[in-house]
Amino acid sequence: MNSVPITLGQLLELGLLPEHEVLGGASGLHRPVRVVVGSDVHEIPELAPGSVAVFGREQLVLDDLAVDLAVRLAGSAGLSGIIAAHPHRRIPFVTTRLADRLALPLIGVPDIAPAAVVTAFDPYVRAPEIAGLKVLGEVARRFQRPPADAQALVSSLTAAVGEPVALVDAESRLLAGDPAVHALLDGAAVRLGERHPVAATTGTDDEGLLLHPVQADPSGPAVCWIVVRRPRFGTGVLLEPVRNAIAIAALSFALHVAGEAVRTEREHRRRSLLLNEILEQPEELGSRSVERATALGWRLAGWHTAVQVQVSALPAAVRVSALGSELEERLTEHGMPVTPVERAEGWMFWTTSEAAADPADPGPLIGWIVRTLAAIEAEHPGLRLCAGIGGAHPGAAGIGRSAEQARQAALLARTAHRPAAVEHIDAASTRRLLAGWYGTAALRGATAELLAPLDAADPSGALVRTLRCYLDCQSSAKAAGEVLGIHRNTVMQRMDRIAELLPADLGDPDDRLAVHLATRAVGVEWDES
């Protein structure tokens, strides 16, 4: 049982000896403690090595002459410390220095009852594990319910383990807690962005850290990390329970994070559904939908300019779901209080103005978006965002039209291969888009090949038109039917046919994009210069 003995330093850290003072020999606090016994100076030579001798006020006061002898006897008997009455007077220099020299901890306590000290220490000396269990129990109690927020996590854990705690994200930014602990992270060679994070212990005691990942998805990357300064005497048996305690806290916090994610997800889904309704049936919106849109601050009347933001490169450490909230925060920070709605390709939002704006001039919008994206990219190394801005269009239906343009512009931006690429849709940019894709004959040939089965099956071009319209209408059969003047079932039938004929899979975003571009390219007059 007593495999790794506890040290006097650890015992003192447990807070079992209130108001104690280490008067000398602090470097000996690492010595293992085998037993704690009440003693008399003359009994010291009989004590076993590793004993801590506790003296009552009658036996020894720390400015007694006998203390020097006690320290020296204890030193040669291999004792691990002396605990005795502190007289609240200056302890002579000879005594403290002697203790220092022999590395024999000399602990002063104002009110000492040796039996009480022995009783308090004994269980921990016999079974050091229980010292850890004490911490563990405390943590388990505190984290029965997930903490309300990061702050609550940090303060509860700090109180339970008695060491400063910090919560950092996967890119080692401080989310909550002790900045000093966060600062210690700099030196620690721990890769927080790992795909399969594991708990870690760094450094030695005093300056080391304990790190534990918080994972919303047990097999996924860490959402954030709990960082705790290593307890001063936290080695061996005492460290393991502390680690376990932190793991409990991490688990508890992961629950909180997951709950938050679900809540956000649900909210996003609601917004998404509402947006779909607006985009698909702008003229038939029910009063409830109008009400909800208004509640979200979405304006249906006026001139709308839609923006679509996409991710063009995603490092492992960044969660797409978290980016949505961050985008919203950043946009708000940059003066655009909008609610981005998650779409298949990214996020979409729009701004609205009362007056008829120049459909081709997005005003200062481009600058705002560029700055917003750049700010987010700067926070996440490796992350690359891009955005497209649609033209300004009136009314509820205008939202959809602008959104479609924004989506197209975003596609162009995505090809730009520069940070925070933002493109605005206008005639020129559409051409540029297409020019970008079909600037070479070889690519045009490939595109032609893509649509060739449709041309072959239906030389009238109806299938290609239907496909283009369907894709233009964001895969809405109803909208496409209206544009084409046919029933939506007809659209659906044609689309089934098209899916069979096409060598590409419309369910795959990349394929769909290629096909969509190919349909848009049909009939464009290319400058063959």
């Binding site: 003359h42 030579p45 400015d63 007694d64 002459l65 006998a66 203390v67 020097d68 002898l69 006690a70 320290v71 020296r72 006897l73 030193g75 040669s76 007077r89 200056r90 002579p92 220099f93 000879v94 005594t95 220095r97 002697l98």
Partner: protein, 371 residues
Amino acid sequence: MEQVAEECVEDVVRGALHFGSGGGGDPYLGQQLVVAAIRRHGPIRLLSPETLAPDTPVLPVVSGGTPVALTEKVHGTLEARTLRSVVEARIGRECAAVLPVQLGSVNVAVALAVAAELGLPCLDTDLMRRTWPSIDMTLLRLFGYSAAPITVVGGAGVVAEFSRGADAVLGGLLRAVMPGLGLVALISAYQVTAGDCARFHAGGSISDCARIGAALAEVAPAQEAGFEPYLRACGGRLVCSGTVAELVQRYGEGWPRGVVSLRTPEGLVRLDFQNENLIVSREGAVLATVPDLIGIADSDTGALQQTVDLVTGQEVRVITGPVDHRWHTPEGLTMVGPRAFGYPVDAVRFDGAVSAGQGRSAEQGRSAERG
């Protein structure tokens, strides 16, 4: 030595400092006191108690009070005469000589000055053979004499007498009246004859002071070897040389307890003192204790120091010396051994040997060795 003339006053007072064991008061004051008395009354005759008829009463004299108070307010000439007349009135006979109660730079000087003032010789002997803090710590008492009656004469003409009672109680009472007397008083105690003094063979006290004082003047303090003349004269040894690292004093029950920490090449040395130096120890190993003498000499001047006057950074040498062998009897140790001053250690002689009167000496030796 037959008399104390002005030219040997410095030696006597300097030597008396040796018996002060770190206490006993300021030697400059003592020297001034005796020189002033000799200039007024001529050299002071010293007498061996054997030269007087055995039943001749003598006048034991000691200055009570605290040394710093005495440097501020030294005795008047009147106190000596008052003391003598009160004592002689009580015993109904004339005293033939002054008997120093203790050796120490102030109290040797006070006895000599009182003798000069009264026109009496001074006995070349004393009752303690060193400085002890209480009037009941004498060889006389060790042999069963009572300290009573005690006569106290204050500066303003106040006379108090404690006629009878347990000596420890009387010692306490004596200290209790001192504040009211401005912490300075001339005191006589014990009823002693020249024959009593002769019986105890405590002779040569003043001569010893003069001899040791002369040797101290020969000391070349810069090197440890330079203390040889002094060590030869007092039969002592040099324990260590070191630098004063700290001096702490605290109020306690009774006398303040002090600790001097010394840094020495051989490690830290601790000196526990109250009024005099009581115990010198190195890292828990007791090197010497009361009743032997423990002195501290300044390494620059060679002068023996009053322990309370030591300052941090001062270079000093610790010297221990033997004391009258009767203090090392079991009864002697009970009265003035370390335990009598509240230190639970056994007495160790000036040379590190076990004190003869020690009951538990073997154990002490073992535990000191073991460390």
